[in-house]
Assembly symmetry: none
Homo-oligomer: 216 residues x 4
């Protein structure tokens, strides 16, 4: 008694933009915007070149769509998770970072970071948008957690921005590196091993003395 599937043609039609954007993301990350040919994007999505233009007005528009549609949903989801754990800043920070790695850094989405790093100069408006809508919000989340930790005496009272960068940049860089060196026979440490040491050192460095004892 479940509703009938839509006819096959229709289903494809609705899925097309997402399929095309996914194919484009892969290639943009792999080769960069300018070096990616729309022929290849279309081929990877299994359609002809002309079909691309049924869904995107231009190569630029495709780039915009790739960036804007791929990352926004995640931020909202993350913002929701903050509430549930606001009483335990250390655990919340750990969770945010591990979660980011699992949901973004280690997936194709992580490629958007490399992509924006590479193309910000060529797409100033997209970069500005990304800066505000993605980076800014994400930084605000992290900074908020850190500030809360400092306020509760859990984290040491040091410069929040530096702390945020020290907490986030290593794994961001890991993601960027991963997108960049995909074909270099690059092997990265297993996440579990990595994060064990990572948080060991990070928290030893940033936790206040009292909190550290509690942690132990």
């Amino acid at each position: 008694m479940k509703p009938a599937d839509p006819p096959r043609r229709q289903r494809r039609k609705e899925a097309r933009p997402a399929e095309l954007a996914a194919a484009a993301l892969e290639l943009f990350v792999e080769k960069g915007f300018a070096a990616t040919r729309l022929d290849d994007v279309a081929a990877r999505a299994g359609v002809s070149k002309g079909t691309l233009y049924l869904y995107f007005d231009s190569k630029d528009a495709l780039f915009r769509a790739v960036i804007e549609e791929s990352v926004l949903p995640l931020i909202a989801e993350v913002e929701a998770r903050i509430e549930a754990l606001k009483d335990d800043p250390a655990r919340l920070l750990r969770e945010l970072l591990v979660n980011w790695w699992d949901r973004v850094g280690s997936t194709p989405l992580g490629g958007t970071c490399k992509l924006m790093i590479s193309e910000a100069g060529n797409f100033p408006e997209v970069a500005a948008y990304y800066n505000e809508a993605v980076i800014g919000r994400w930084n605000a989340l992290l900074s908020g957690v850190i500030e809360a930790g400092v306020a509760r005496g859990v984290f040491r009272p040091v410069n929040v921005e530096v702390l945020r960068q020290m907490a986030f940049y290593p794994i961001l860089m890991r993601a960027v590196w991963r997108s960049s060196m995909t074909d270099c026979g690059l092997t990265q440490l297993e996440p579990d091993v990595y994060f064990d040491t990572y948080f060991d050192v990070l928290f030893r460095g940033m936790l206040a003395a009292s909190a550290e004892e509690a942690q132990a």
Copy 2:
């Protein structure tokens, strides 16, 4: 009794390749390899497009030269400094990182990092070379220092690679970001403020208990 300077015309002639490479580095970093036009490189170096081909066989060759010539000299220099300070791993590590920022990260050379991140996929052989000749050697230096520190009981005995990334990636990311977001009205913290907090947290996290006391 030193030899007289060559006449100015000649000096320019000899400087040409370096001037062209510098112009190319700027544009490659700014726009990426594919989106950079040789017209613009030549214009920025103040010569005609044809002149480029007197010194570089192709656009690819120019890219290779930019990468290979710009970073190699530095590594050698750094390797030399290691010897002088090998008895004080903490100070040595701090010096390596600050020095890297001063000599690379905060200069146009820092752009090569962004450039390789962006173009590794399109230049596998150059990326492999860079990986070995630059990244590999630099990582070996850092790892060596860290291992020495661990061996002497100065650093805590944790996974060296993770430690290296935690020590280096934040400032590497800062350099990459700087190259990328050049026109976004980006402002970064002053190096002094930054490094104060940076090493405070980093060393607290990685120094062994005894060394920490000594430090304090």
Copy 3:
């Protein structure tokens, strides 16, 4: 006792080709053949692009149909009117010209003239057909009237072709101009004012002295 109208749906179906041809004529006149997109023709006729192909085999065929179907009926009608007035060449000529303006020059049909002028080079066969079936017959009508007038001593015995062009080209040009400069805020003289002066000068120039006196 006339047969009932067909149901509305059916009527539309039968009217489709004419509606499409009308829409195509407008756009061909406005933009030219090559610059007119079938999407736009279909949209202006209120159908989908695919529907066009139910009635016309190709864009070329549509062009042919537009030309051939739009002008032929008129010629026959005009030829009939000639008979009724063959005794008064001056009045007949005046009537032909005024009538042409009212029925063709000042209506969308006048656009076909501009269209053929624009596209003759791209459609040699259509142009040849148009030349023979429309221009030729129309010229023959005018020339016949003029020759009759000369024979009767009403018109001065000068070169008939030149006379025909002097009589027809100014108003043909008016029609072409009208189709061409539609959006330039062009204003043309009122037909009545125009024709008063027009025939005043034209007949003074071409009427034989005796006829002129009679006219006065």
Copy 4:
């Protein structure tokens, strides 16, 4: 002792824009703007497609250049001639028209008239410019001559605009026709025969009675 010719390469370079514009004019007139391929323009000018873009930014820019550069010089020249003959309006009018035919209507330049008629709808700004800079000035010249003639009692006092159209449109139409039907085996009357009858009828129609006697 004449100055040396410029080197061959240079001479070609200076002539290129004019050669390209001439080739483009021919093809635009022949096929229309949209149906003309830049490949063909380049081929007709004996250069490669890329060379076109050294001199014109786009196909549109080429169109603009063709229109704007080809007709302007003539107007100025004509305006100068007016002065010399301002005492004899009938002769001046005749000379203007014959001269227009010799210098424009019967040459490739006459094609611009057909071209503007065809493309005005697609290039509103160019059409507006042409209307003002070419058509307007030319009409002003003709109207001025006619008004002068009327003022002196040489021409009959009828509507000047209609008179202007009757005087100019037949030969304008001849030029347009010529450009349009170039390949239709079209044969036009010899100019001499044509103009004899033309002015005979025209002046009989528009000259005042007294002037007519003087003419005879």
